[in-house]
């Protein structure tokens, strides 16, 4: 149990510390693909450090909610990172929150971000909040459908149990999981504000979603939000790995497998990040009102995955 708790804390800390690295890697890959010279891998850490040192500039009419939200969002994302098995499968905390609760944590963070965006009363803030909620009301049920498919196969909504089942069953290709994987990819792209739904590098009012919401934030509040965003991308990648490529995650009670697990995680994350930047480089951002279609497709694929499970696999 005590090793379990240590592992739990270790894993959460690893996620928190490595998350900006993943962002740095994705940015680097994208710069290479676009033929630019890449920023160093550690650039996100430098940005965070700079932001933490700055004085926070806050609008006159900001309410306490505005200042509270970044901490809340960061805490939610840290919790999410703690639930998803990344290196070890022995997580004493995971019974406290299963896959459905994980969707709830993401939703909680999102609602706080959207409310904070509306707090100052600028046109951009509420525009961003509205668009974010628009994207999420389709992405959230779609994510649930993906989890449902996985948990119908493994007979559980506990993430460690799902990983255990999927990684240690003999290798069977589940057609339902193929649908779920495509749906999950589309959802992660949307939820993490990447192309084609949103563009993390733009500040053009016609297109921005996530950036519009955090426009009023600065210094430590912004740093916490940026870090939480990095953590979210990390958690989603870890989720994708856990659900669709679970091999290599250290099973319960096997500490010897840990170094290999860390290595496997790094390799998988690196490949995933590279794939993300590649897909971003070759696709264009869609018009805002095409985003519901994109997500509607993801939702439909998720439901189809579940239906196929009922049709073919039961």
């Amino acid at each position: 149990m005590s090793t379990g708790i240590l592992l739990q804390i270790l894993q959460t800390l690893v996620a928190i510390l490595l998350a900006p690295l993943l962002i740095g890697w994705v940015n680097q890959c994208r710069a290479w693909l676009q033929g630019r010279s890449a920023p160093p891998l550690t650039q996100p850490y430098r940005t965070l450090k700079k932001l933490f040192h700055k004085d926070a500039v806050i609008a006159h009419n900001a309410s306490p909610l505005f200042r509270f939200a970044p901490y809340m969002i960061f805490a939610c994302m840290a919790l999410a990172a703690g639930i998803v098995p990344t290196i070890a499968n022995d997580l004493p905390f995971s019974p406290a929150a299963d896959a459905i609760a994980l969707v709830g944590v993401f939703a909680l963070a999102r609602v706080f971000l959207a409310l904070a965006a509306m707090d100052i009363g600028t046109s951009f803030g509420s525009l961003g909040a509205r668009r974010e909620m628009l994207v999420s009301f389709l992405a959230e049920p779609a994510l649930l459908m993906v989890f449902f498919t996985a948990s119908l196969i493994s007979q559980s909504t506990e993430l460690p149990v799902i990983v255990q089942t999927l990684a240690h069953k003999e290798f069977v290709i589940y057609p339902s999981m193929a649908f779920a994987a495509v749906a999950f990819w589309m959802i992660s792209v949307a939820e993490n504000a990447r192309i084609p739904v949103d563009n993390p590098t733009t500040h053009l009012e016609l297109t921005m979603i996530h950036e519009a919401m955090i426009l009023e934030y600065s210094a430590r509040h912004l740093a916490l939000i940026e870090w939480a965003v990095a953590l979210k991308l990390f958690t989603y990648s870890a989720l994708g790995i856990a659900l669709f490529l679970p091999w290599g995650i250290a099973p319960q009670g096997e500490l010897n497998a840990l170094p290999l697990a860390v290595l496997a995680l790094l390799v998988k994350m690196a490949l995933g990040g590279a794939a993300l930047s590649l897909l971003e480089a070759i696709s264009a951002k869609v018009r805002l009102f095409r985003a519901p279609e994109f997500l509607g497709t993801a939702f439909l694929l998720g439901v189809l995955g579940m239906l196929i499970h009922f049709l073919l696999e039961v």
């Binding site: 933490f52 040192h53 004085d55 926070a56 500039v57 806050i58 609008a59 006159h60 009419n61 309410s63 901490y71 809340m72 960061f74 805490a75 840290a78 919790l79 019974p95 406290a96 929150a97 299963d98 459905i100 609760a101 939703a107 909680l108 999102r110 609602v111 959207a114 409310l115 509306m118 707090d119 100052i120 009363g121 600028t122 046109s123 951009f124 509420s126 525009l127 909040a129 909620m133 999420s136 389709l138 959230e140 649930l144 459908m145 449902f148 948990s151 119908l152 909504t157 506990e158 149990v161 009023e216 916490l224 009102f289 519901p292 939702f299 579940m306 239906l307 009922f310 049709l311 039961v314």
Partner: protein, 670 residues
């Protein structure tokens, strides 16, 4: 609760609570000139009554059923009252929510003139007494009398501001649909008594029914109770009547009165009918999901905050009904454990909704009291003027959006777990329906978050959109106390689900014959077994809290807490004003664009050269035009045809009577 206490007189205590409210109700009439006494004494005493009823309910959950026969009413038709686990549960729900709302009401009505207030107090307490009697009734006669008391008193509460024509109109619509529903209920009981002529529930329980007549009774009950609960397409009165009523009354109507319909449906389906058929469940599931989605979509496009909340009530009733349908499906399929799970979800959601909708309506009521404005497009920035109301309402909004660790998440979680446990139903077509149903529930829940961000964000955050906000004042302390109680309910129901589930166990056992086994401990909720699914809200909450504090301390210690205040960024365009924020309509625009096929959108755009441009837009319910308008037209046409007979001349009427007499003599007396 394994041990059962024997207390035969619990139902008498509950009846004593009803009598106490009746005394308060008529006592209030004597205080026509004493506003201070009415608000400071009558309403708080009424609140104590609610607490008492909740206490009786808690005791009732832990003991066996008790019944009495009261010799009131018509000769040979005494009132039968009975308190079993199901009634006890709904008494707790009623008492718990009504305590907070009534406490709130004592502060809310502080500015109302004494005369109307005394009348309002009369109807208010009659309404409470009526609802309790509905829950206690053990024969159709007592049930219908109490049902009518509840309907009529709430009608008079809805039309409190009867000088406004739209409120009179809303009241009329409410009364009309309530009575169409009541007629259907009367017929239900007529079918249920099965030819014995004895209308006690006890006879009905033992009546032998053919599947055909049982289905007729069920459909009539679904229609009758559905009309009260706001089931689509009988929902049209709800978004009219709930906003029209004074806010504490809206809170009671949405939070509690709708649940009496759920109570009735459960009573008839699982208790009075002694056979259940699978397709009943499929029907209820389909209607419930339709209601949930329909309600939440319309909630997203409303600009009137109380109307938004009323639509959201329709959504929640839809979720409850979907759980009801699932329970029936599992129950008839012989999956008792699953039926117990969905029944638990249903009851949990019912009590959750009583608390968070009560809280949201009272919060909206304080805003209305402070600004005199229900239109969200005129509000905004109220968090700075009424922080207490804002933070308490935020708890309600997060809870209803189904976010952990609050209570709305628990019932949603239980319901979703039920969907995941379904494979292996005996009918293959049902196995296909389940994923689609799960998807709809998830979609409704996600849209509820959209609606709540809109509600809270537009009303409490941002800048004030009009002058009315500048004079806003914080809610009085009794209002805050009431809201605090309801908010505490939302938090506690969210943090201690294992406890709550063990309390509602007797109800689940009574209805489905099985109980939900919690494999976890007091901290952790684990239906079926812990390997399958578990959720420990308290741990969850503690971890979020600890992380939050650690991060805060770390940021402050390692870095600093310096803050500089400045103007918000204006994009280099200094002429910013509050109208550049999203309006309520603007926030709902994406939903309107996506789901436009459900609505009739009406827009008045001003002329470009207009000196005084006025914009008007509304997204109207298409069902109104498809179903209700033709019926209303038909009724109008029929009555105008009947009107032809009336000439106002005595000769004609004498001829009519003469003709009728001849007719009767020829055909009837033969």
């Amino acid at each position: 609760m394994t041990e059962t206490m024997t207390s035969p007189d619990l139902v008498q205590w509950a009846w004593a609570g009803v009598l106490y409210w009746l005394i308060l109700a008529f006592g209030a009439l004597l205080l026509q000139k004493r506003r201070g006494l009415l608000t400071r004494l009558v309403f708080p005493l009424g609140a104590l009554g609610a607490l008492f009823i909740a206490g009786v309910g808690v005791a009732g959950l832990m003991s066996s059923a008790s019944a009495i026969i009261l010799p009131i009413g018509l000769p040979d038709l005494p009132f039968h009252l009975r308190l079993d686990a199901l009634s006890a549960f709904f008494l707790v729900l009623l008492g718990g929510a009504a305590f907070g709302v009534t406490l709130y009401a004592s502060g809310y009505f502080r500015d109302m003139p004494a005369g109307p207030l005394a009348v309002l107090a009369l109807w208010y307490h009659l309404f409470l007494a009526g609802m309790v009697t509905v829950i206690l009734a053990d024969d159709a006669y007592a049930f219908m009398v109490a049902w009518e008391v509840m309907a009529l008193s709430s009608y008079f509460l809805v039309t409190t501001d009867h000088d406004k024509p739209e409120i009179r109109r809303a009241g009329f619509l409410y009364l009309l649909i309530a009575h169409v529903g009541a007629v259907s209920l009367l017929l239900t009981f007529g079918v249920l008594q099965g030819g014995h002529g004895d209308y006690t529930f006890n006879t009905m329980r033992h009546a032998e029914m053919t599947p055909y007549w049982a289905s007729v009774a069920y459909l009539l009950a679904l229609f009758g109770f559905g009309a009260k609960a706001g089931l689509v397409p009988m929902h049209v009165w709800l978004p009219e009547a709930h906003p029209a009523a004074p806010s504490p009354v809206s809170a009671l109507m949405s939070g509690v009165m709708l649940k009496t319909a759920i109570y009735g449906l459960l009573r008839v389906t699982f208790d009075l009918l002694n056979l259940q058929i699978g397709w009943w469940g499929t029907l209820a599931l389909a209607l419930g999901l339709l209601t949930a989605l329909y309600g939440v979509i319309f909630a997203a496009v409303q600009s009137d905050m109380k109307r938004l909340l009323a639509w959201s009530s329709i959504e929640n009733i839809g979720v409850i009904l979907a759980a009801f349908g699932l329970t029936l499906i599992f129950y008839t399929d012989g999956k008792g454990a699953l039926a117990a799970l969905t029944m638990t979800a249903l009851l949990y959601h019912a009590v959750n909704h009583a608390f968070f909708k009560g809280l949201l309506f009272t919060g909206a009521g304080s805003v209305l009291h402070a600004t005199g404005e229900r239109n969200m497009d005129k509000l905004g920035g109220l968090m700075r003027y009424m922080p207490w109301t804002a933070w308490l309402t935020l708890i309600g909004a997060l809870a209803i959006a189904g976010l952990p660790p609050l209570n709305g998440f628990i019932s949603e979680w239980l319901l979703l777990q039920a969907f995941l446990l379904t494979p292996g139903l005996n009918q293959p077509y049902l196995n296909m329906v389940i994923p689609v149903a799960a998807a709809s529930v998830a979609l409704a829940a996600a849209l509820a978050a959209y609606v709540m961000v809109k509600f809270f964000g537009v009303v409490f955050l941002g800048n004030s959109r009009s002058k009315v906000v500048e004079h806003a004042h914080e809610a009085s302390w009794r209002e805050r106390l009431g809201m605090l109680w309801l908010a505490a309910g939302c938090v506690l129901l969210g943090l201690f689900p294992a406890q709550v589930i063990s309390w509602i166990e007797p109800v689940v056992r009574q209805l489905t014959g099985q109980i939900l086994v919690n494999d976890g401990n007091w901290l952790m909720l684990a239906p079926v077994n812990a390997e399958r699914a578990s959720y420990a809200p308290l741990v969850f909450f503690a971890v979020v809290l600890v992380t939050l504090l650690l991060v805060f301390i770390w940021v402050r210690r390692v870095y600093h807490g310096r803050i500089r205040r400045a103007d918000p960024w204006d994009c280099g365009y200094p002429e910013q004003d509050a109208r550049m924020q999203d309006s309520a309509e603007g926030f709902g625009q994406p939903i309107r664009q996506i789901f436009v096929s459900f609505m009739r959108v009406e827009r008045d755009t001003p002329d470009p050269f207009s000196r005084n441009p006025q914009y008007h837009g509304a997204s109207l319910d298409k069902l109104w035009f498809i179903i209700y308008e033709p019926i209303a037209k038909l009724a109008g046409w029929l009555s105008s045809q009947a009107g032809r007979l009336q000439h106002g001349r005595i000769q004609w009427y004498l001829i009519y009577s003469f003709a009728t007499l001849i007719f009767l003599l020829v055909f009837v007396t033969r």
